[in-house]
Amino acid sequence: MADIKSNSFLFWLGDPLRATKDEATESYRFTGGSAWWVVPLVVGAVLLLASFAGGFADHKQFFFSYLVAWSFCLSITLGALFFVVVQHLTHARWSVVVRRLAEALIWAFPFLAVLGIPIILGMHDLYHWTHEELLDPTDSHYDPLIAGKVPYLNTPFFIGRLVLYFLVWTFISHRLYTLSIKQDINPDASIRGKQYKISAIGLVLFAVTTAFAAFDILMSLDPHWFSTIFGIYFFAGSFVSALALMIFSNALIQKRGGMLEGIVTTEHYHDLGKLMFGMTVFWAYIAFSQYMLIWYGGIPEETIWYRHRLEHGWEYHSAVLLVAHFIIPFIILLPRGNKRFLPLLTFMSVWMLIMHWFDLHWLAMPILDLAQNGHAGFHWLDFTTWIGLFMAYFGLFMYRLSRHSLVPKNDAHLGASLRFTNS
């Protein structure tokens, strides 16, 4: 088998494989210039540097904004990983022509691991349970509830878990990414079986690690509160945003870059739209399931979490979330024609990406306000960290796409995918 390992470590973060673009079929090539990835990367770096500078003035705000931005990119990557894994496990035919986008997205895990360092540095500001005085029974701040959770919520174990999650995700995505690109230059029949196998293992590992990552990264911001469905809530939003980014980037490289013309058709967009619609409903279903059980139980430790999100201006955020993350997309994405009308579908994909960020903001920020007696709203750091991190993330995504075939050209189901119609 041809060696496709890249040799430079720095570039390994961007793409672990050497460029195979020259071996790609002409119509599957990325024809855009390097500006496609350099510009977002530079914009991202500038915004992130500005955010770091802003962080010196208000480091607590910076860490919270950064956590939301980082969770946003992480959740998209997790959603994309789920997409790839499920396509392999179901032997999906329709999705082959769009699968490479998701495959390029999942190699963001090492990059996000490096960008996760500020989270570790800001743990004291972010996670209340890291405060030593809460654990000392003689201290006036002693909190028996948090002290009782020390076996799980302690700094070394927390960092260890994060490292473990990223090792698992990087392992699965490395396997899926390299196998698929290896197949491009060497149509080895055994690759399909290997993809299937790693997907089967990957799905189980994905489910456990994603749920616990959501508990650790976002739910433990409020260490008194717990909800077992929280991991699924996070997953639902992740998958919606991954599909949204796939629709958006596909439309972008097709309409602005003139690539994949006639390869990714209305039929594929329609299916991605259907999945995005379905997962938006799923998100609402999970969000409501969590809310209803807590409402019905009426136990103060649980209801307090919603209480924080229904006062000090957060009630408007909650209302916007209900209307704009569920009701409006539900009505717009329901008719068949709307999902087949690309400008509207692309608009809705951007809409869902923004709403997903809004959702994560709604999860994390009331905690910061509570600590600072603040009020709902947005800080400029929320936007610079978000756009900055996402731009850098998007730039590297485009970088990977630009180096390889845009379509897994030797996939056994490629023909079926090209011919696919919703009848």
């Binding site: 409501f288 809310y291 409402w295 068949r336």
Partner: protein, 221 residues
């Protein structure tokens, strides 16, 4: 006026009226899905509206070839869903706060939160019912009597034969011309089916008197 409306509604459900000679329509058999699809496309292009295709399995692209528009079942389904939602909201409110108010751990008699599951379930239930009933209605089903059943050959529509049926009620229909067109499109066997709905045909199945063989091409084994 009303009669015409009814006639066109029935034609939309593939239930056609026979002409004065009790002739229901031409049944043309084709050898494979591709020729049937081609024939359907040509029939549609020729301006025929009252025609239908019958095959043992769904053929992808057939609705497009026949010039059928997108199914309208979705609208019926939406109506069912809205009805279910309204019904469930009313049910929750009326039973909970009017008919039999019960204080359950101080919860309000009517609140949206615990009602949502009921609203959701009834929305889904009624839209599912509406979808199935709407689908049956638009297809003109159930239809225990169909003149096509008179043809012995037509039983093969659920086995190995592909049929195109053109009703005499179509404005464009002309026995000679339509037959010639079917022949040209490569039909193996063309039959004129007579509607003998008033005649007692026992179990309602094959009746050779109702079927007039017009054309048969010897197939090469």
């Amino acid at each position: 006026m009303l009669k015409n409306l009814l006639r066109s509604a029935k034609a939309n459900m593939s239930i056609y009226e026979s002409n004065d000679d009790d002739e229901y329509g031409l049944l043309a058999e084709f050898s494979n899905p591709a020729t049937l699809m081609h024939a359907a496309e040509a029939t549609h292009k020729a301006g025929y509206k009252h025609f239908d295709t019958h095959s043992p399995f769904p053929i992808h692209g057939m609705d497009k070839a026949m010039g059928l528009s997108n199914s309208r079942v979705g609208y019926i389904c939406l109506l069912g869903g809205i009805t279910g939602l309204a019904l469930a909201t009313w049910l929750q409110w009326w039973t909970g706060s009017i008919d039999y108010p019960l204080n359950i751990s101080g919860k309000p008699f009517f609140a949206i939160e615990p009602s949502v599951p009921v609203m959701f379930e009834l929305t889904v239930l009624l839209s599912a019912y509406a979808a199935v009933i709407g689908m049956l209605a638009f297809n003109g089903l159930p239809r225990p009597y169909n003149p096509l059943f008179y043809s012995k050959n037509f039983a093969r529509a659920s086995d190995d034969a592909f049929f195109l049926f053109v009703a005499t009620s179509d404005e464009k229909f002309d026995k000679e011309k339509t037959t010639a067109m079917m022949k040209e499109l490569g039909s193996l066997r063309i039959e004129m089916i007579k509607d003998q709905g008033s005649v007692n045909v026992g179990n309602g199945h094959h009746d050779d008197d109702a079927v007039q063989l017009i054309e048969e091409i010897e197939t090469v084994a």
